[in-house]
């Protein structure tokens, strides 16, 4: 799972050139994002073609009696008989029409495969992200306000411990304990096999299946929000405006929630968007452990074939999500931070 450190988020914040107008700023950021996207497309195309054993025509026909003509026919069918530049141009042209190619293994358009799996992945990572963010930010500001206390020590210690645990290991542990041992939760899947549940019963069934995978992601991910929020609140705590607020006779609680926390949230907003992108790709291991029918497992299948169009497709989609999220982070930060607007 790729996690961005807090300092990386801060670096992103400093890249903003002073004195630019909003329009120029937008243009700059959008341009950067587009260049990144173009790089992803190029890399996605060429990198998977230098993989060993990446001739799909040979891979697909292995273990069966086929003539050389049949293999050649497959190559023509996949467009592999064309020179690489021609293949690349076709690939780019198709991308613009939303066509990510045709999966060799599933005999289906890649875009359809990805769309089918995007829902479950977003449901899983979205829920986990919301819980991690809320939990991390809340615990973070609490810990900062009582810095040095037992609460602070226990919370940061716990969070950092979970952060350093390998995701798949934690997932397997939860699976063995809560599914196999205690039998409280299912061992995998998104809903009970062959369920005819609808409405609220279906929602609860899905929620019941989500508990363990979401718990796994949250445990590993929330620490970074906690740490950034904690650092950010600590920084605000020395500010003069808090003294002013206290001088007005506001309660300590009010000073924290109305004055310190809103200001401290700024740096975390960027972090939230930066990590959201990574979370989608990071779900691969959790999805595999809990048999979640999402993009992660699709990628895994693509790798074991190997299924070039499928791999290219998931690579482009994963990367695009990260790039778009980074772009959104830049925009949101610009909107939220009055100092940047004034500049």
């Amino acid at each position: 799972m790729t996690l961005l450190g807090a300092d990386e988020a801060l670096v992103a914040e400093q890249e903003v050139p002073a004195g630019s107008t909003l329009g120029r700023y937008l243009l700059l950021k959008a341009g950067g994002a587009l260049v990144s996207l173009a790089m992803v497309v190029v890399l996605g195309f060429f990198s998977f073609r230098i993989l060993p054993g990446s001739d799909p025509a040979i891979n697909l026909t292995r273990g069966r009696r086929v003539s050389a003509e049949e293999v050649d026919r497959l190559r023509v069918q996949f467009g592999l008989d064309q020179p690489l530049p021609v293949q690349f141009l076709r690939y780019v042209r198709d991308l613009f029409t939303g066509d990510l190619g045709y999966s060799y293994v599933y005999n289906q358009p890649v875009s359809g495969l990805i769309l089918d799996r995007l829902g479950p992945t977003l449901l899983l990572t979205g829920t986990a992200a919301v819980i991690s963010i809320v939990l991390g930010l809340w615990l973070g500001q609490r810990a900062a306000w009582k810095r040095g206390s037992w609460f602070d020590k226990v919370q940061t210690g716990l969070a950092l411990t979970f952060w350093s645990v390998p995701t798949f290991w934690l997932g397997l542990l939860l699976l063995l304990l809560f599914a196999g041992g205690l039998r409280l939760f299912p061992a995998g899947g998104m809903m009970s096999p062959g369920t005819d549940a609808t409405g609220i019963a279906l929602v609860l069934d899905v929620a019941w299946h989500m508990v363990l995978p979401v718990l796994t992601i949250v445990a590993v991910v929330y620490a970074q929000y906690l740490m950034v929020m904690r650092a950010s609140v600590l920084e605000e705590m020395t500010s003069d405006y808090l003294t002013t607020a206290r001088a007005k006779g506001l309660t300590e609680d009010r000073v924290r929630t109305r004055h310190a926390v809103p200001n401290a949230l700024l740096p975390t907003v960027t972090l939230v968007f930066l990590t959201l992108g990574g979370l989608v790709g990071g779900a691969v291991t959790v999805e595999t452990v809990f048999s979640w029918p999402g993009l992660g497992y699709l990628t895994f299948q693509g790798l074991s074939a190997p299924d070039l169009p499928l791999l290219q497709g998931t690579f482009v989609v994963f990367s695009s999500i990260v790039i778009v999220m980074n772009f959104v982070a830049d925009l949101v930060y610009r909107v939220l931070d009055p100092r940047l607007k004034a500049a």
Binding site: Y106, G180, S192
Partner: protein, 599 residues
């Protein structure tokens, strides 16, 4: 601001599953009598013309009958055809399809359906992906009347040409594009079960076919449930989320053995596990291929290597004894073709003899006990295995010291399955672990040892098992291919496999058992294939689940029978929803009141 975030977060968390549940695939209602089977590899497609993966073809075996079927002991038995007749020259096969055969939708099933299916595969390249090889020898298929099918072959063949090819209903497939038809909802079939719904990477549901000619099965249907690993599937079996799990490792198998309500089955598998020895690979045009150690062109060296490997120990230690020691490439599950030809003797583990053979052949031993090849270079070999298969690493850990004992240094490398495929095809190996799953008819396995099965220089073209070639073997292959007398054919087949053994190019180590487990507290009467010591899942047929029956309904109700949401989830879930909603409301209220006393 934080509260607003909390509120929004809670709302989002609640709304997400609601929103997505609309998009969730509709699943047909699963009766309690459905057998739930864990599926640990994904399905490529349920289109029988395109499906290649074993998981898919295994499911399709329940859906479509072939003209003839493999019986409970792997013998050829009636399928759609009740009788068949072979002309004396072996080139014309006549099948009789009884009048009462019906498709699952009630339409009559006739010879026309079979003709349409054969012609579709023969006529359209796109439909040859899965079964093209089955029709290459078929010249013409005709239906002189609805109950008679006449198949003319290009050359005589002993293997029944009506086996394996799934016959599809013309009245469904003629109206769709057979090359792209998904065939995953409301399908029509002729076997004991018919696919009713499919949610990719989640589940496949099959319902009992009331029109199945042998009679409807006792269970109402089968639901295949996807698990990404056998570890997860084993947990699901323990919690009764599924009823059948297969593909277990010896450790998983032993952990389930003796558990309440669970029965384990160690069935004779149809795969052989071998170590191939590169005899000096050449391509289809006879040019050298790859970079195998030239010393291995010497048969004596290859025989010495095989003599220094103890198959029984590998079986006992790597498989915990769950298998049979290896002989030829036909596993013991097929007794007709299993074993050596009369007169041939198996090699026995004898390091002293192996050492003597190498001494006599002129591989001199240095002071360190290691040998040099005949040109004086140190005798060093590479051994390649798949990093996805833990048994390969374990095998290597035994074989490396055994070969060191006879003075041969071995460098072990575990690489990706694709790397093994590529390097072995291109002859870039000295030793590597290989193995094939063998069908009831040995013809294909023999064919990939023919001289003309050697690949092209780029690795394309035919598949060769060991890149070995002997014209005498090709003659034996041709003879058995056309021999219609089963006894005579079996003799020829054994002779041919014995020849591969004696050439010392492929050391068959063992036949691993297929390890399965099922909830015997919920289902019983699974049929093994073969009936004595055979497998339940992954059969050459549909017997395993066809005869299965639910255990008395009263026993199954206790606990959490269907593996569905347990009772506590609903009240607890509702409580969580209510608490979250109250939290959102409170959060919003506090926000609005606080605006008033803002400084």
């Amino acid at each position: 601001m934080l509260r607003r975030l909390v509120g929004a977060g809670a709302a989002l968390a609640l709304a997400l599953p609601l929103g997505l549940s609309v998009a969730a695939p509709p699943t047909a209602s699963a009766a309690e009598g459905d057998l739930k089977v864990a599926l640990t590899s994904d399905i490529d497609t349920l289109n029988p013309f395109l499906a290649i993966l074993a998981s898919s073809t295994g499911i399709l075996r329940f859906q479509y009958e072939s003209l003839v079927q493999y019986g409970k002991d792997n013998e050829v038995v009636p399928g759609l055809a009740s009788e068949w007749e072979t002309s004396p020259d072996g080139k014309t096969w006549t099948f009789t399809i009884p009048e009462d055969r019906k498709w699952s939708d009630g339409e009559p099933l006739t010879a026309e359906d079979a003709v349409w299916t054969f012609d579709a595969v023969k006529g359209q390249e796109a439909l040859q992906q899965a079964n093209g090889g089955l029709v290459t020898n078929v010249a013409e298929v005709a239906a002189p009347d609805p109950q008679t099918l006449v198949m003319t072959l290009n050359s005589a063949q002993a293997a029944n040409p009506g086996a394996e090819l799934p016959i599809v209903p013309e009245h469904v497939w003629a109206d769709v594009d057979a090359a792209t038809y998904a065939n995953d909802t409301d399908t029509v079939g002729s076997g004991p079960f018919v696919i009713t719904s499919y949610a990719q990477s989640q589940s496949v549901e099959l319902k009992a076919n009331p029109n199945f000619w042998r009679g409807a099965p006792s269970i109402s249907g089968i639901t295949y449930v996807s698990y990404k690993s056998t570890d997860a599937a084993v947990q699901a079996l323990r919690t009764s989320e599924v009823d059948v799990v297969s593909g277990l490792t010896p450790a998983q198998f032993q952990s389930l053995d003796g558990q309440d309500g669970i029965t384990t089955n160690s069935g004779a598998g149809r795969r052989y596990q071998a170590m191939a020895i590169n005899p000096g690979a050449v391509d289809a045009e006879g040019k050298p291929l790859g970079n195998g150690n030239p010393a291995l062109k010497d048969k004596v060296l290859r025989e010495a290597i095989m003599t220094a490997i103890d198959n029984q120990t590998l079986l006992d230690r790597v498989l915990q004894g769950l298998g049979k020691p290896g002989q030829t490439e036909v596993p013991s599950v097929y007794p007709a073709y299993f074993g050596f030809a009369p007169g041939a003797t198996p090699r026995t583990f004898d390091p002293a003899k192996a050492n003597q053979m190498l001494d006599d052949a002129g591989y001199t031993k240095g002071a360190d006990g290691m040998r040099t090849d005949k040109s004086g270079k140190p005798l060093e070999l590479r051994l390649m295995g798949r990093n996805s298969d833990p048994t390969h690493q374990q095998l290597a850990e035994f074989i490396q010291p055994w070969l060191r004992d006879i003075g041969i240094a071995v460098e072990v490398s575990m690489v990706t399955p694709n790397q093994v495929n590529d390097d072995s095809t291109l002859g870039k190996y000295d030793l590597y672990f290989t193995g094939w799953g063998i069908g009831p008819d040995p013809d294909f396995q023999l064919s990939i040892n023919r001289c003309d099965s050697r690949p092209n220089a780029d690795g394309s073209g035919s598949t060769s098992e060991s890149n070995w070639c002997d014209p005498a073997f090709d003659e034996l292959y041709d003879a058995q291919h056309a021999e219609l007398d089963p006894t005579k054919r079996a003799e020829l087949v054994k002779q041919a496999f014995t020849m591969i053994h004696e050439a010392a190019v492929n050391d068959v180590l063992y036949y691993a058992d297929s390890l399965e487990a099922y909830r015997s507290d919920k289902f019983t009467n699974f049929t093994q294939q073969p009936q004595e010591g055979g497998v339940i899942t992954g059969q050459n047929g549909y017997w395993g689940f066809y005869d299965a029956t639910p255990v008395g309904a009263g026993d199954a109700v206790s606990g959490n029978p269907a593996g569905g949401t347990p009772g506590w989830v609903l009240p607890v879930g509702i409580a969580v929803v209510v608490v979250a909603a109250v939290g959102v409301v409170l959060g919003l209220r506090r926000r609005s009141t606080s605006a008033a006393d803002r400084e």
